[in-house]
Symmetry: C2
Subunit: 336 residues, 2 copies
DNA sequence: GTGAAAGCGCTAACAC
DNA sequence: GTGTTAGCGCTTTCAC
């Protein structure tokens, strides 16, 4: 069987018109039982299935939900699993779309992606970590871990402020006083709140924030490596590092290993996210867990209601975080 | 800004025809610099971006690669990450498609999915764990972890036979003699080979396979739980269980906990895959690791070459597996 | 009960 | 240099 079978071919083979085939497929009235039977037979024999694209172009509703991600990395992928959880048994199909992680070249990718798929391919979309505030688009859209600024979009995010405090408080409780931070992408509210939580925790402990102990990781593996290296090679390096996400924390672990700095012996490291990979590192990462799958589930539930035209009272959902203690943190060594 | 902007609207706004807009967008010749400038301005102001669907329907090439999965579970998601790795900097975009895990109701989903997207939405596809052999479709398609039977499709898979032997040999080396198995989906070659490897390893150790120690888990969490329960409540239960994948192994751990059976004290458990989740269980799972991301990368590399029209000599790639020892296995207790 | 025709948003011949 | 037209695969009036 070669290439794709079109409705046209089915019609020709069955000796009927395309509109009759269409009616058979969509179960419309006005087809005799015999014709129905016959056409169905041809469809099955030829293995015909309507093109998603052609159908989408024609119909207003597509019954497809889109997940728009800059890249398929651990965080977005976990969210995707959550969306898949929520989509099961709703009758919706799922299309995850990414232009391949060329983010830097395109702040504002979400606007582009939305234009490309909304209204034609998908009925609504979950956008993961969008880069701009003003996604001025009035279709059903929910943002996960959204951009800073008052957003008119419905959003779902973890309590990043509380989470960061959890992480830094943990380090403080272990006796650390010089705590560095590898910060995240400055344009994301999640990153800002995590830095804020870091500052709050340190202030609450009666300490001052040493600005030299903050380095920009930007949620990017490479940049996080540089940031970690800068921090760890300081004349008076921190005894602990709080990283704005696990990717950055993992990069920090890496750099520490390269520099021959023992974790957690000489420096403790705390991450944020609890991506699955964080348990596989050496040492396993202590991290602030945010419920990534649940972010996806909540966002999807909201999106489905939005598509159904329901009014939603609370369009900003915040989920709690928890600390997951593993092996990358330990009490400060008593100075000898 | 409301809804999606169409080329028609751009044309009207700019006071030109749609074809002129099309030419501007696609950089075709035959547009005066002034018109180009003007139309470009309107496009930017309106935030216009061509609909992926309309464009796909019209053009033969779409520059989009599809990843077709029955569901977004850990295995397929890891493969997806690998595909994303490989796609970066190729210029291709990525669409992952799933109808939402209603597998059981639809063996043969991959044929349906292919018909829906191939030739219109995507230029080629990676299908993950297809259910049938005869995906009679001659477009560029690569199967990851494919169905049993001689397949004309290019395939990428792990060495399941060697992997299973690795896992079972590990248990044998620990002194286990009564080793049960929670088997996988009988229609998948991967599952068959893992069972074969189990049998081979036991025979190679000079033992007989006790058929009562095999239970069908079908790669399904629920069914795997039943299988594990059956095995663990046997009058003379096995001292170790080899599970056909990590999902099944995790289910086994779960059931053991419910039954108050200590792992690895009373029963050792080995999984297969090394999905990220397997490190998070209690106890952390000893498992046979298959390079899931690399499966995705290799498949994509092959697919890209296929789309480019290259002849590929070796269309069946097999990747090695390795044993990851964690805490769910221990030497057999000496009978008291 | 069935088919012809229009049109979804776009591109590519082909006229003008 | 620009617009008109046909058509990608499909659904949906609307004649017959």
């Amino acid at each position: 069987m070669s290439g794709r079978v079109t409705m046209h071919q089915v019609a020709a083979e069955a000796g009927v018109s395309v509109s009759t085939v269409s009616k058979v497929i969509n179960g419309r009235y006005g087809v005799s039982p015999e014709t129905f039977e016959h056409v169905t037979g041809v469809i099955n024999r030829l293995g015909y299935e309507a093109s998603l694209v052609a159908r989408s172009l024609r119909n207003r509703r597509t019954n497809v939900i889109g997940v728009l991600v800059a890249d398929f990395e651990p965080f977005s992928t976990e969210v995707l699993k959550g969306v898949a959880d929520a989509i099961r048994d709703t009758g919706y199909e799922l299309v995850a779309y990414s232009a391949g992680g060329r983010i830097d070249e395109h702040v504002g990718w979400e606007r582009r992606y939305l234009s490309r798929v909304m209204g034609t391919l998908v009925d609504g979309a979950v956008i993961v970590t969008p880069t701009v505030t003003d996604v001025q688009y009035d279709g059903p859209i929910v943002a996960v871990d959204p951009h800073t600024g008052r957003s008119s979009l419905p959003t779902v995010a973890a309590d990043n402020l509380q989470g960061a405090r959890l992480g830094v408080d943990h380090l403080l409780a272990l006796g650390h006083r010089r705590i560095g931070m590898v910060t995240g992408r400055p344009d994301l509210v999640s990153a800002q709140l995590r830095e804020q939580g870091y500052r709050d925790a340190i202030h609450a402990a009666g300490l001052r924030v040493d600005e030299d102990l903050l380095a920009l990781g930007a949620f990017d593996p490479e940049q996080a490596r540089e940031a970690a290296r800068a921090l760890l090679t300081l004349p008076d390096p921190p005894t602990a590092i709080f990283a704005a996400n696990d990717i950055s924390a993992l990069a920090t672990l890496d750099v520490a290993a390269e520099l021959g700095i023992d974790v957690p012996g000489r420096v403790s490291v705390v991450g944020f996210d609890n991506i699955p990979e964080s348990a596989l590192s050496e040492p396993a990462l202590t991290t602030v867990q945010q419920p990534m799958r649940q972010l996806g589930r909540e966002a999807t539930a909201m999106l489905v209601r939005l598509i159904a035209g329901e009014e939603i009272a609370d369009t900003h959902i915040t989920l709690d975080t928890t600390l997951v203690e593993r092996r990358s943190t330990a009490p400060t060594e008593v100075p000898t």
